[in-house]
């Protein structure tokens, strides 16, 4: 139960953080609308949302919530699938407006109850009369009502949201716009179009005569990638949540996001699934919680749980690295083990605390390098660090090379950023680091003056050489070159190297991949395969495998085959399937049946030979029928009218 609670808390946090973000995003937009209400045309907001359709619902929900809270109580949101005609649209609109009116003040309930929204004749006029009705009422109502309405404007506009503009029929939209533009004076209407593709769609959907009635302003919502990075930032790159994802899992989730749907919601869903799976499959995940809590729980571990800990591969590694008497103690005494585990958990926590600031710091350095050898986003860097020792990779090497060529102003700003990161982080080890970085900064400051001096001296040198003749010039230039090569680097260069080396040392100290840590199994979820199986399944592959190679599933000796060939003892469906693969667009049932009978009788052995002389055995016939209808159910074939007793093949290679 504890686990459950904790998990729920985390999920909730997810959603809240997501919502909060979209809220803030729309706050400013909402205020904008209020000032545009006086225009003669219908004020229209086109909201470009991008292709991640699944997230739109949430966005719209929060949007209408904000609108309702801050601007107007009259918000209706329409979906294309509810509105096949103008009549349905009006009906829906009325219904929603009436309802939200009821929500706005419950005293008016009986009024609305009399006219159930389904029965009133839905027309613009009735809408207007209703609107006038309520606005009048709000004006002449008791002071406590006034207060609520004063929060809204004097005559609150009616906001109509079209959630998926593209899928509305043009006729309906046009009619609605024309009608409402006639009544715009009586009814302050505001339209919001949700657009998934591009703003051009408005003009392609609506002819000029219609779109001229609208006063369109375009808003761009945050791209889903930014949403994702915020989410990752808030969920994964904090020490707040004990639960972590291993590199592969994160990679799977991000791939699904990038290659399949761009849906932040689905990403969150995947993350939730990870949590569920982790807590379900890992018995020791009780320890995956806040440090202080975990320490308490360690004390109450049962013997079997201790055994579980001893079985963890990372713990074994740890034990092996200890001295022999300690090893024995760890393996035999539960109490000793618990103490050790507590210490290890603390280590793990400290590791995380140190890991993140250093990661961010490294990201500051690498994210501005040309060609982004370690990735543009921090999540890529995170993956790289989790996967292996990052400093052993080629990309890291090249990024360090590039970092050694940074100019001074960039370097200084980066260092300043790093200082900020370290200061804000809670790690205890970072005091020295901060000091060192500040020291670097100071040295850069000092250099500034020195540099200028140096520059002067060089220029004077050149001045001198100008007066000499050509031969001397050549000679002196050569000398100069020599000296350059052998000369010690400038002070700035030395300092730059030092900085880079320092960062390098930080990385080597703190960015050790998580699976080198003892007890990392407790908090890291690593079963990427399972995750992918559940989220991004491939039912076709499964079917294909089962039909082609039943031995994969049925562990029977007769079915064991190497090289993908099918034994004649395979289940009937498989044989029938295999036979049908050889056929073209149409399959003659008789031939198919005979081929099947031949295979099956052969499988049953020579004794069957006599029975199959020229009539197919009834049982085999029945089995064939079953197998064929199973294939039909699976969608491989269908009955065909083209020729008698033929079926059509529906799948690959049907040409």
């Amino acid at each position: 139960q504890q686990i459950q609670e904790e998990m729920n808390k985390q999920l909730f946090d997810n959603l809240v953080s997501f919502l909060r973000r979209s809220h803030s995003e729309f706050q400013e937009k909402a205020t904008e609308w209020t000032c545009r209400m006086k225009s003669r045309e219908i004020p229209t907001a086109a909201l470009v949302l991008g292709v991640n359709v699944t997230d739109h619902d949430l966005t719209f929900k929060s949007l209408s919530e904000i609108l309702q809270n801050n601007i107007t109580p009259y918000v209706a949101s329409l979906q294309a699938k509810d509105c096949p005609g103008i009549k349905n649209l009006m009906q829906k609109l009325m219904g929603q407006l009436m309802n939200c009116y009821v929500d706005a003040d419950s005293s008016e309930e009986e009024d609305c109850a009399q006219v159930s929204p389904n029965r009133i004749r839905c027309s613009m006029t009735s809408l207007i009369s209703w609107y006038e009705n309520i606005t009048k009422k709000t004006d002449s109502e008791t002071p406590n009502r006034k207060r609520t309405s004063s929060r809204h404007l004097q005559s609150p506009p009616v906001v109509v949201i079209f959630k998926d503009m593209e899928s509305f029929t043009t006729k309906v939209l046009q009619d609605f716009i024309v009608i409402s533009s006639q009544h715009i004076h009586e009814l302050p209407l505001i339209l919001i179009f949700g657009i998934a593709t591009s703003p051009m769609i408005i003009h392609s959907l609506l002819p000029h005569s219609i779109s001229s009635l609208l006063c369109i302003e375009l808003f761009q919502s945050l791209s889903c990638k930014e949403h994702l990075s915020t989410i990752i930032d808030k969920l994964l790159l904090t020490t707040q949540f004990a639960f972590k994802l291993s590199e592969k899992v994160l990679q799977v989730l991000i791939n699904i996001f990038l290659y399949h749907d761009f849906s932040v919601q689905n990403f969150i869903k995947g993350f939730q699934l990870c949590i569920v799976e982790h807590f379900y499959s890992q018995p020791l995940s009780v320890l995956c919680c806040e440090l202080s809590e975990a320490k308490k729980r360690v004390n109450s571990l049962s013997h079997s749980q201790c055994e579980n800990i001893r079985r963890l591969p990372s713990f074994r590694r740890y034990v092996e690295s200890q001295e022999s008497e300690k090893q024995i103690a760890l393996l035999t005494s539960d109490n000793f083990l618990k103490e050790a585990v507590q210490k290890l958990l603390e280590d793990l926590h400290v590791y995380h605390e140190n890991y993140l600031p250093v990661l961010r710091c490294l990201h500051v350095f690498t994210s501005s390098l040309p060609k982004y050898p370690l990735g543009k986003q921090i999540r890529e860097l995170h993956c790289a660090c989790l996967e292996s020792r990052v400093w052993e990779t080629e990309d890291y090497e090249s990024s360090l090379q590039l970092a050694r060529m940074l100019n001074k102003s960039d370097l200084v700003t980066m260092l300043q950023k790093c200082v900020e990161i370290f200061v804000s982080s809670s790690g205890k080890d970072f005091d020295k680091v901060v000091e060192k970085l500040k020291d670097f900064l100071a040295q850069f400051q000092k250099l500034e003056g020195a540099c200028q001096e140096q520059g002067e001296s060089i220029s004077s040198q050149k001045e001198l050489q100008k007066k000499t003749d050509l031969y001397h010039l050549q000679k002196s230039l050569l000398e100069l070159k020599e000296s350059r090569r052998s000369k010690k680097l400038t002070k700035f260069e030395v300092l730059r190297f030092e900085v880079v080396d320092f960062i390098d040392s930080l990385v080597k100290n703190y960015l050790v991949p998580a699976d080198h840590q003892t007890l990392h199994e407790l908090v890291y979820f690593s079963r990427a395969g399972a995750l992918r199986e559940h989220l991004n399944a491939a039912p076709r592959v499964a079917l294909h495998t089962a039909l082609n190679n039943p031995g994969c599933y049925l562990k029977h000796q007769a079915l064991r085959s190497d090289g993908g060939s099918l034994s004649n003892k395979a289940p009937d469906v498989c044989i029938v399937y295999k036979l049908h693969l050889e056929c073209g667009r149409l399959i003659n049932l008789v031939d198919w049946l005979e081929a099947f009978a031949t295979v099956v009788t052969a499988a049953e052995g020579p004794s069957g030979d006599a029975a199959v002389s020229d009539q197919v055995d009834d049982v085999i016939h029945a089995r064939f029928i079953r197998a064929v209808s199973e294939l039909e159910l699976l969608g491989f074939i269908k009955a065909s009218k083209q020729k008698t007793d033929h079926v059509a093949r529906l799948t690959w290679g049907g040409c």
């Binding site: 799977v252 149409l586 159910l633 699976l634």
Partner: protein, 560 residues
């Protein structure tokens, strides 16, 4: 070497024979079979991988599903995280290259020993093809594919002699087997593989680069080939029908009885599989409660599994089982059973959407209300429509409605767009059970012709029995006329005027109107179909196959 003769005579058919041969040899010589099949599959897979590069699989998806399979696998490997368990289908294709090279070499050496033979058929074939359809080679290919095993048929007509001679045949003609096999390679890769492949196999060393080039050439033609194949309406298959098989048609009961007699193979293994799946029950419960819905996929009936889940876990909770495979199931009936049985609401709704709204409202009001919905075959004919899926998705998105469903159709996931998928919030579980789809297929009229005949006949007699003698006479007249014309493939039906004339002559009707009224009745019972010809004349047809009609007339004559 008589086979050579056969091949020369009918080059088109020859290609197909070996396939069946192989299946025969499977019976006798397992070791040999393995050797044969392996290179074949390897080659075909390789072919697909090759073609992949040239074709954007978006466009070619439908015609070359296999490619997208490989594409999926490709993506998986590209993802660089083949975590073993995740790559279900990967193993299918793992044998690709390494084995192939060895086999090909072996084959090549085999062929090297008999160079004359291996080259000969190729040569004889190629010119012939060119003579036949000189303009395009791909067209021919398609004809290859669609030919039926001519020789197989011949063999089957005399199966005993053939079976006897089989072993001898395989022993003596091993070289020929090899070349047949090689031809088979090209034929199984059906339509996209080319003769170039065959040649490549026969002389891999010398012509390697050439054949490669040719292959690439062909691959780019793939799209054209597809359309060519589908533009030609002519399909070459044998004309044999089940009629001629002298086989009595099986009805549902006998079929079931027969199947009961036949022992289910691998029962133990299937049981083991099921036990694996059953161990997931508690996990499913947890995940259902956390707002996910579960969808099961994989070969084999998942009905028993779901039933077991129901009986073992859901015994004490409110649950609804939907048999999606049932041919008359509708979303409406599902919603009705929820409102009536679960919510105990008596009242009707104007539309399913209203009903859904009501259900949503009730579930939101009363948080103690919980409902488990089990749907067998969510992808069945009746439920796969867009609207029904939308409604079900909305239903399943309710937090207190827990949906667990099974899908079987290969294209089932195409039912859902992103919006629906996010409403469903699926978790996929692969539950391959290999158990036969007994229930699921029994309702479907999918037993093809075998069953529909008997059904149609009984329904015919039933309907006719309830009619007046005059009406029966009218129908008989039409049936006779249709049977007389059964050899005429372009028979349009009996025109109304002629029919009227005949009926009058037989004293069956006295006016145009009575005949029309009678015909309307027939049409309502789906006994006849009317069709307007090019000249605007109405033609009448009985949409029943000739044999049933003959049976029917015989029976009628007995009665009369």
């Amino acid at each position: 070497m008589s086979h050579h003769g056969a091949r020369g005579g009918a080059a088109l058919e020859v290609r197909f024979v070996p396939d069946e041969d192989v299946l025969k040899h499977i019976a006798e010589d397992a070791a040999f079979k393995v050797r044969k099949d392996k290179p074949q599959l390897a080659v075909s897979v390789k072919g697909f991988v090759k073609t992949l590069e040239n074709i954007s699989d978006d466009e070619a998806q439908e015609m070359l599903e296999e490619k997208s399979y490989v594409a999926v696998l490709g993506i998986r490997t590209q993802d660089s995280m083949g975590d073993g368990s995740g790559v279900g289908g990967g193993e299918l294709y793992t044998f690709q290259t390494p084995k192939r090279s060895g086999k090909m070499a072996e084959l090549a050496s085999e062929l090297a020993r008999t160079p004359g033979q291996s080259e000969a058929p190729d040569c004889t074939e190629c010119p012939k093809k060119n003579v036949k359809t000189p303009q395009s080679s791909s067209n021919k290919k398609n004809e290859f594919v669609s030919t039926t095993p001519y020789r197989l048929r011949r063999r089957l007509t005399a199966p005993d002699t053939q079976l006897e001679s089989e072993s001898e045949y395989s022993a003596s003609c091993s070289e020929e087997e090899e070349e047949e096999e090689e031809q088979k390679e090209s034929s199984t890769v059906a339509g996209r593989k080319t003769p170039a492949k065959t040649k490549a196999a026969s002389t891999p060393l010398s012509k390697k680069s050439l054949s490669k080039k040719m292959k690439e050439d062909k691959m780019s033609n793939l799209v054209e080939q597809y359309f060519e194949a589908h533009s030609s309406s002519k399909v070459l298959t044998s004309d044999r029908t089940l009629q001629k098989l002298q086989k009595r048609r099986l009805n549902q009961e006998t079929l079931r009885d027969l199947l009961k007699k036949a022992p289910l193979p691998y029962a133990a293994e299937i049981k083991e599989l099921n036990q694996q799946h059953e161990s997931l029950f508690s996990k499913w419960m947890l995940q259902l409660h956390l707002g996910f819905n579960i969808v099961l996929y994989g070969l084999g009936s998942k009905r028993d599994l779901l039933e077991k889940f129901r009986t073992s876990v859901l015994q004490d909770s409110v649950h609804l089982v939907v048999n999606g495979y049932f041919p008359s199931i509708t979303v409406r009936s599902i919603l009705n059973s929820i409102t009536e049985e679960v919510l105990e609401h008596t009242g009707t709704f104007r539309s399913p959407l209203d009903q859904l709204e009501f259900i949503v409202k009730r579930f939101k009001e009363d948080s103690s209300l919980e409902l488990y919905v089990l749907i067998h075959n969510l992808d069945s004919q009746m439920l796969r429509g867009e609207r029904s899926q939308q409604i079900l998705a909305q239903l399943s998105s309710l937090p207190s409605v827990y949906l667990i469903a099974s899908i079987d159709h290969i294209n089932a996931p195409l039912m859902w767009d992103q919006a629906k998928q996010s409403l469903y919030n699926w978790l996929w579980y692969e539950t391959t059970t290999f158990s036969p789809y007994v229930e699921e297929t029994s309702y479907e009229n999918s037993l093809l012709v075998q069953q529909s005949g008997s059904l149609a006949l009984s329904s015919l007699t039933h309907v006719l029995r309830s009619l007046t003698p005059n009406a029966r006479g009218i129908f008989r007249l039409l049936a006779r006329y249709q049977l007389e014309n059964k050899d005429n493939p372009s028979y349009p039906g009996l025109s109304f005027q002629d029919f009227y004339q005949q009926c009058r002559e037989a004293f069956l009707v006295n006016s145009d109107l009575t005949l029309r009224a009678q015909l309307t009745e027939f049409r309502d019972h789906k006994l006849i179909r009317t069709k307007r010809g090019a000249d605007g004349v109405e033609y009448l047809l009985i949409p029943v196959d000739d044999s049933t009609l003959t049976d029917f007339l015989e029976k009628e004559d007995e009665d009369v």
